[in-house]
Structure formats: structure tokens, C-alpha cells
Symmetry: C2
Amino acid sequence: MMDYPLLLRTYLIRTARYFAKKEIVSVYPEGAFRYNYGEYYQRVCRLAHALKSLGIGRGDRVASIALNDHRHLELYLGVPCCGAVLHTVNFRLPARHLVHIINHAGDRVVFVDEDLLMFIEPLKDQLTTVEKFVVLSHTGTLPQTGIENIVLYDDLIGDFPDEYDFPDDLSEQDPAMICYTSATTGDPKGVVYSHRAIVLHSLTVGITFGAGESDCILHIVPMFHANAWCAPFAGLIAGCKQVLPGREVINMEKLCRMIADEKVTFTAGVPTIWMLLFDYLEKGGWHDFSSLKTIVSGGAAIPLHLLKTFNEKYNFPIKQAYGATETTPLVSAALPKSYMTGLSDKELYDIRTSVGILVMGLEMKIVGTDGAEVEMDGTQWGEIWLRGPWIANEYYRDPERSKDAFAGGWYHTGDVATIDSEGYIRLVDRTRDLVKSAGEWISSVDLENLIMEHPGVAEAAIIGIPHPKWQERPLACVSVVDGQSVTADDLKAFLKDRVRASWWIPDDFVFLPGIPKTSVGKFDKRELRRLYAEGEIGPVNMA
Amino acid sequence: MMDYPLLLRTYLIRTARYFAKKEIVSVYPEGAFRYNYGEYYQRVCRLAHALKSLGIGRGDRVASIALNDHRHLELYLGVPCCGAVLHTVNFRLPARHLVHIINHAGDRVVFVDEDLLMFIEPLKDQLTTVEKFVVLSHTGTLPQTGIENIVLYDDLIGDFPDEYDFPDDLSEQDPAMICYTSATTGDPKGVVYSHRAIVLHSLTVGITFGAGESDCILHIVPMFHANAWCAPFAGLIAGCKQVLPGREVINMEKLCRMIADEKVTFTAGVPTIWMLLFDYLEKGGWHDFSSLKTIVSGGAAIPLHLLKTFNEKYNFPIKQAYGATETTPLVSAALPKSYMTGLSDKELYDIRTSVGILVMGLEMKIVGTDGAEVEMDGTQWGEIWLRGPWIANEYYRDPERSKDAFAGGWYHTGDVATIDSEGYIRLVDRTRDLVKSAGEWISSVDLENLIMEHPGVAEAAIIGIPHPKWQERPLACVSVVDGQSVTADDLKAFLKDRVRASWWIPDDFVFLPGIPKTSVGKFDKRELRRLYAEGEIGPVNMA
């Protein structure tokens, strides 16, 4: 067989030629912009010439700091197909992280949305590798700015020819995209995606969710978030219509209008968006979801009641999936099998609240504390290890932190899970949040959820603290509902018949006015551990 | 990203683990045999041990001479996953070709169906590389035979363990399968398929035709015919139920029962089978096609009236596709685009009788006589050139015949076609059958069809014959309907207003009692050219 590389170029050219009339829609507050893959390709070609004119060559990194729109989609294909690397920047990161990742990636050009320029302007003098700023603007006006070397995107690509000879001699292992994780400890870690990984992942996304040419994809997942889960690539490969909602992604009424007007069949997002949508719907918000076939949710678990309401009340068929920045990202999807149609509602929701079955093309081991694979019995816990063509083998320029995460040729996800006899995976906890008591694991997540079932408890977070006999014991940090009074003994009694085993019950409880949170709203257990280590919080009730 | 090879092993293991309960059905005259992927995998593991015990190692070739059943499907995965190569033998080839290809491939073991042993037995002494014969039998009885070193498949694999550690250190470019074309000139040519080619092709088949876990695939295409178009692999990868009809494939009543009883959703075949089915249906044969979603047809064109009748009268939705042994085989598929729902019946059938649009992942050029790509205007003719990860780059151990076919890094298909503005390809002729008159091409196929529209003509075949002035001119070889009388002048008059241009009209006509045919029923133009060259036939009417 030919030694023909898996490059995005091949797919771009086919779609531009044979699906030239299919539409791409960018939605702005002022209205929608529409063009088709034929016109899209011409602008991608102009972009390629422009990149060349800026001296951007193979392996060079350029950044996008942008919302989900068609110019961002032009960068998605234009940059990698030239052999350069698109660094999609999470503009919600703290300023010091923004500076770090742009410098660490060595971005030479920054493509920045006119609405996001404000995040970058104050940092400009710290960005040591950036030579040029390019403003993605749909208004056509260069904003007032103190940045020099700045140009409008449409002016930059303006007069170049609308044909380009994209190189066919790249290696499929050449980098196409780079994303940084929003690290919970230390600086963000970079993950580099090859052409090969993106192509294989996108084909697999297409088969897994049955996305084909007749689908219309709405991109709710930010395009800086693990390649928007490769939906833009999967959409291009299949010749799908694509809808990019820009800043209107958080306007639920507009989003519902888009779904109905554009006849969206497929979308994906994180629970944060589904919570906004849920509130909107419960307040009687207008919607028409009749075109929707598949909605993929990932990034965090959706509570059962939310999933049920979405499904049953609103006919909004959310499917959970699991992945990570390190995994391009799709690892598993919670799709019932065709022979499961006879299952009870409870059994079906038990499947649909799992993170699903490993997708085709990957290899997985769920490894227990003894180093052996756990049984497929739905109860044994182990860490998820992965390998496959779209699994990272290192963090970019970070050998120190790569060492453990990718030891032995497997990516150690840090996620602890069970797997049942049908292959459905259920996440238990993060390895670092598990409490290791006498060699056994206690799930902080499970324990927190149990404590939060107590009517007097507003929030509860569990951290492991050192113990002379049991190595580690859970410390429960609890905030009480205003006006209520709850004691450690109350909670111990409450937990008694609810926990998996009596030794799960925390010996120690700390009552706080509120639980500290991270920038994305999760319990900040690192901060709790620090507070405990420095003696600022301590047990009220040592056993 | 990890340097993780695309191997069939990864897909086999995932399906065996997570889709263990999905069914595989082999249909025999005595009834159906059923098991599931869990049990299938155990037998594939036993087979792997057995191959090892026979000394079959990496790169070794073993042959299958078999119908479509579950044992053949075990060979499909078991042999490549061990690192060996499965040579699927077309048992309908003439004996001298059978001997040639088994010797040429160097097959060390021959797995042969009990019903096909008769083809091989007389040849056994000529098979110089074969060390062992293994009989695939569902009756469990070793047939009476003069072959030594012969064993029943189920005995061979019988007592081995049902776990096997399939090697994960093969290269994805390692050979997995080998097929020989049924050559029209010279010996059959071998095409070697790598793991990579099969995986990528199968994923693409899945997306192109929307085949997923809920599909049930019936394998009508012989498993020796270009990997049964990789449907067994695509089915395994997605975890589909698979139905293997064995010799019942030509029993139309049984086939229709299978479709209904097993709730088949997807199948594929060549027009020969559809003709049999058509006759059966037109005679009022029982059928229930309500489960069918996709039927792929390839290998030759289906006449419009047949396609229409299948669709409209029988709700049997045939979709044409195009490919070759050299292309694993899928190249293009005649699927209307989603925005074409408003087209007229005529326009839709115009699309459905094309061979479709290039599938994702391949690159195509349609190259005219001037060496440039033709316009996408639906009229210009050119030869289809292809490249991509599942396109062959050579014929196995045949540098001489590889040279021209794969010149310049493209596979020159020998098929002349047009491509329209939407990308739909329509085959015109084979390059070797075109008549080159004064540097312009005349399609032998078109001309034959025009002549055969004359009510007095039974058959017509066109060959190009040398001409002193025009280089080549068409010679029409015609057989007349019994009892009718047709002259060259009649035919010239008939063609006058029907041909594309007046110079298409043959100067010369030869009337024959019948047109010689090849073993597969096509006009034997090689024989006609020989007859002409040796003066056995000649023009009756030289211009």
C-alpha cells in the first residue's frame, strides 16, 4: 500500500471540491454570516499565503485567542495544512498563565478576536516570542490599541490568491495543534496533537456518534478546549454544515433559535452550559429541539435528574462522554447497545450516567492498587490507563511532569473508575483526591455527596490527612446551611448506614463558613490541604 | 502523541471485550450456527496458538479457499493479528491460475472449505510451498481425500487455550491480507493489504455508509473478493452483528429469509447477485426488506431500470460504489447530498447511476490525454488516478507490471470517467477499450450500447483497429437477433443522429453468430482483437 500520510490537507481539499456548497454559519449579535466550503477554502488558501508572507514555516507556532467563529475555523485548517501549529489559547486562564503558555509554546503570531484583545493588551510586553498580532474582526475596524505590529485578519489575507499548494510531504506525526491543560498544580501543561491523531480521532468521533454529511454541527464547546473535541475536523471531513455561535453561546434564547433555525442535529458541550440551558428551559424559554439527534456532554458528570429532565421533558438527548486534553479528547461514550432496548428506565439511566464504553482504536487498562487489571464487575476500583494513536506521550517541553503521567507507554489518567461486565466505565474519583486508609481507597466524591445529602449541610469537601496508624484518614470540611446547626456527631450518625463501610466515616470534621473554590468553581482541595498543613484549619473531633 | 500502530489487534480485543454478546451467524443448508464475539475471540485465540504450532510466523502466508462463514471470519482476524498474511483465494479461477497464485504467494498452509476441496485436490502436487491442508468443515467429518498432511480445522485449534497474547509490536505497514485480481491478461496480479490500509479503509466505510453498532451486516460479497470490501472488518470494528450466508448466497429465497429473520440492515454485492434476486422477486418470490437501510453494489454498473425497480417496487435501496482490488476496494459511493432532496426523480437517478463521489481520505485526479486534470463539467473524459493510504503501490513480486500502473506515485486505474460539478464520477470505458481516432477518444461502451438499441441487434462489441490515417478506428462486431436481417448500412443510418459526433460511426462492421465472452460473461475483446489480427474476422465494408 502507498506510504501516504494522514494529513488534514487531504480531507480539506476533498470537502472543498466535492462539498463546496455546504454551509458554514457564524452567528454574531448583529446577525449571522454565511458562506460555504468553496468560499471557506479560498480564504484558507489566502491565509496560507499570508502565513508564508509572515515567514511562518513548518513547525512554527501561532496562537488563536478567539471565540467560535468562521475565522477561527479558517485557522483550524489553514495553519496545520501549511505545516505550522495552531495553539488555541484558553483566554479564561489567569494572566500569568496566558503569558506562560504563549511564551512556552513560542507563538510567533497571535490571532486575537477583537472582543478578546483586552485580555492580551496588558500582557504584550511579556510575550517574548510574538512578532505580530492579527485581529479577527467581524466589524472590520481595527480597535484602538497600544499594540504595535497589529493588522486586521481580513486585510492580512485580503489580496492573496485563492489557491494554495498545500504541502503533501509533511509527516503525519508532524504537529498540527497544541492545547494547554488548565493545570490544578503548577503551570499549564502543553499537549501537541499530530495530523495523524486528529484525523484518526475525528474519523472515530464520526463513527461513534454516527455523524455524516447530512448532519449540522453546532459548536458549543470552546474551540480552545481540546480542539473543540475535534468536532470542527469531524464536520469538515464528513462535509457537514457547521454553525459557530461566537459569544452568543451563552445566550440561551439565541442558542435555542440557532438550533431550530439552522436545523442543528449534533452538538457538544460541558455541563456548565447545560445548567444555563436547564434554567432557561425551566423558566419556560422558547425552544424547538426537533432537529437534534445527538448531544454530547463531557468534562464533568451530569446529575441524573438533569439528564432525565433534559431527555424526558425537553427531548434533548444528551449522551455523556469522557476524555481529557491528553486524549484529543474522546476516550469513551455512554451509548446503550442495540440489544439493550428492553432494559428498564433505571437500568438505561444507569448506563447513560456512566462515562460509557471505550471507543474503537484505543486500548485501556483499569489498574488496581496491586498493579493488576480490575475485573469487569462494576465494583473494583482502578486507575484508567490508556494507549492509542490519539493519546499523548508527553507534555510539551516538560520531561519532568511527563515522566510519571506517561510511564511504561501508557497514559495514566489519574481517574479512578469501575468497569462493568458490559464495559461501561464509571468514574469514582481522581487518584490524588482518594483517601488511602489502611491500604484501601475511600472516594472523596462519594463521601462528599453522602454528607451533602444531610439537609443541614450546604457544601462538603473531603481531603486525606496523614494518620499514624491508617496512613491516611478522611477529613470532612463542611459548610452548614444558614441558620442550621450541625455537629460532627450528627453527621457520623447520618453517615452510619449510608457509607460503603464503617471505616469510610470521617473521624474528623471541620466546619467552615464556605469551601474555597478553584477558578472553574470546583472545590479547591489543594487550598484545603494547604490550610490543614499550615494549621489554619484542624479537626474539632479527633478519634 | 503516542507512536501507536494501527493494527487489527486493537479493534479485535475491544470488540471481544465490550461487545462480547453481539452475534455472528453462519447459515448452512442444514440450518444456522450462532455464536457471539466472546466465543469468536476464544476460537481466534485457539487459531493463533494453532498457527504458532504449525510454525507460522510473521510475514508467512496462509491461504483460505472458503465460502463466507464464521471459520473464514476467524481466519480474517486470527491470521493477521498473529502477524501472518491471509491469502483469500478466488476458487473460481481456472486451475492454472489457482496453482500460480498459491505458489506465487508462497502459501504454507491452505485452509479449505470441505465443499471446495475438489478444486484443490487435483492440483496438490503442483502446490510447491504448501505444507499443510486444513479443512473448514461444519459437518465435522474429514472428507475422503488423497491429500496427506490434512486436518480438520476444529481439531487443529481444538485444545489450545482460549487466550492469546497478540503481538503489539507489528508495524502497521505489515501485510495483513493478500488478494489476486482476476487478470484479463497474463497471470493474476497480487495486491497486499497492510493493517493500516484495512483499518483506515474500514473506518471510512463505516462513516461513508453510516454503519454502526446497531447494524446487522449480511456478507454477500465473496470473502475472497477484495476482503469482502472490508465489511467483515468494518463490522467487527463497530461491533455489528454479522451474518455469513455460505453457499446459500445464491439461494434467493433463503437469502430473503435471512434478511428478514436476522433483521439485516446492511449488505453489499455485485450486480450478478442482484440479477438473480431481481428474477426471484419478479416471479413473486417472498421477501421482507423492511430492516434494510443500505445495500452497496459494485464491480459493474446496474442498469437504470433495475435500480428503479429495486428501489420503487421492492424498497431495496441499492447504492452504487466503485473500487478495485488495488484500492482495498472503496473509492467512491453514489450517495446524494443532503441538499439534493428537492431534485427530480430523473436528476436523482442520474446521481444514483453514477459511481459517486470520492470517499474521504483519498486523493483523485481525472487526467485527460493532455496530461492535465479535466474540468468538473460532466463531459470531459480522463483516466482516474488515485492515491491514498489504502491504494496499492505495487503488484506483489511483479515489478514489471507495477511500473506503469503505479507510475509517479499514483495508481492509474485504467478507468476513463467524467466528473460533474458536484463531484459525481461516471465511468466511460476502460482505457484499453477506448478507440483513439485522430487523437480523440471514442467510448466502446457507449457505442456498443447505442448499436444494441437497434431492434435487430442481439449483441455488439467494439474494438479499435489500426488505421493508416486516423491511427485507430472502431470495428463493430455485431450479432443479429435470430430471424432478423441487419446490414452495415442499416446500422450506420441508425447511428447517424444518435452518436456524439459523426466520426464515432464505425466504418467497418463484422457480423458474427455470437460475441465471444470471458469466464465472467463479459465481451472478450482480447479474443476479438486476436481474431482480427490473425485475419479470422475482417471488415465487410471498408470506407
